[in-house]
Amino acid sequence: MAEFKDYYAILGVGREATAAEIKKAFRKLARTWHPDVAKDKAGAEAKFKEINEAQEVLGDPEKRAKYDRLGADWEHGAPAAPSARGGGAWGGPGDGQQGAEDFHFGGTGFSDFFEQYFSGGSRYGFPGGARAAGPEAGSTRPRRGGDVEGDLMVTLEEAMRGMVRPISMQTVNRQTGKIDRQDFQVRIPPGATDGRRIRVPGQGEAGQGGAEAGDLYLRVRHAAHPDFTTEGADLRHDLELAPWEAVLGAEVVVPTLDGPIKLKIPPFAENGQVMRVRTRGLPKGKSGERGDFLVTLLVRLPEALTEAERKLWEQLRDASTFQPRAAK
């Protein structure tokens, strides 16, 4: 049984926290514990991934509701069976109850608890385990083992450079209770996009009757970053501007994965306008090409004014020829 994870405590929010409060808490913590910023890199990385995992669950209304129910069950000492996995609807193989073997991963960046209850894909790959539960369970007819799927949390910095990730996989045979542990390393190619599956041949469910084992598919999940989101190989960033910066134009320093760059905002920039900085996104395969960096301009309005500022806005109001509601 996986250990219960208190995601609310991890994010430092109350059980009644609103979605906005959760997002805010996540951003703040992610900024503090981001491996590029923190001094203790290894410790920070584990913490960063833990924060991301909490966000992944509490940031999703459906998963959060499920988590709250789970928590209540846990308190009564009767956790629900982890059967309702994401992929479970497709008739058996996605359903954690049916395989001949249980799989537990280490090194994926997600906890065992998350994998058991919240992993998005079916842990048992599609053509997998259901067979063992079928009428032919005892048959010695050679059958290839099922494919197994797991999630792999990858930070954007890791996706940028690529890396070799040590993984441990524990297999528990449901009938015999025999536990097998295998350690191996998997190369995550530079530019691994979110949702992309990395196939590790022969590391899936064992075959029957001398047939070969299935494959392990590790699905890349980009860790949420305080500054960026990804869209394929493109990197997106929200840039907040003061009204005068948008109107007069400005030069603003913005972060990228390669370090900060100066971005020239043209005069009369529109709210929501997207600026494209070419080739500052993630790498695209081996070609050496890269995706783009897309900056969305968000014009923010002040929420409070000093007396001096109020006077200036009033002067602007009285002098301005701008008529936003005039017919064009």
Binding site: M1, A2, E3, A46, G59, D60, G86, W90, G91, P93, H104, F105, G106, G107, F110, S111, D112, F113, G120, G125, F126, P127, A130, R131, R144, D147, V164, R165, P166, I167, S168, Q170, D183, F184, Q185, V186, R187, P189, A192, D194, G195, R197, I198, R199, V200, P201, Q203, Y217, H222, A224, T229, E231, R236, G285, K286
Partner: protein, 108 residues
């Protein structure tokens, strides 16, 4: 299982390293044998429109292999006919797309 399984194993030199070629591509004969099928069956799925090679070089990638295994599973283990396979794959694709979309939106 407890939380120590969250920890990655310490990397050591005798640990096998899998380095999947991200741009690997298979001919129809190779992808057929990887899925335990013959080329004629693969061709049939291709003609059905449920499996397609890459544009340009007519080779199949890793996603195509995964898809081929699913198609074959639906046919051989679940007894689904061609029309059913088409429908199920389309539905699964849509579900996956919607899940991704929801996830993307949450990250923004």
């Amino acid at each position: 299982m407890n939380s120590r399984h969250d920890l990655p194993p310490a990397a050591s030199s005798d640990m096998p390293v899998f380095e999947p070629d991200p741009e690997v591509a298979y001919t129809i004969e190779v992808i057929a044998s990887l899925a335990g099928l013959d080329s004629v069956t693969v061709l049939h799925y291709q003609e059905m429109g449920v499996l397609s090679p890459r544009a340009g070089d007519a080779l199949f990638d890793e996603e195509a292999l995964r898809r081929l295994r699913r198609i074959h599973h639906l046919r051989a283990e679940c007894g689904v006919n061609d029309a059913g396979i088409r429908l199920i794959l389309a539905l699964m694709e849509e579900v996956e797309m919607l899940r991704e979309e929801r996830r993307q939106r949450r990250h923004q």
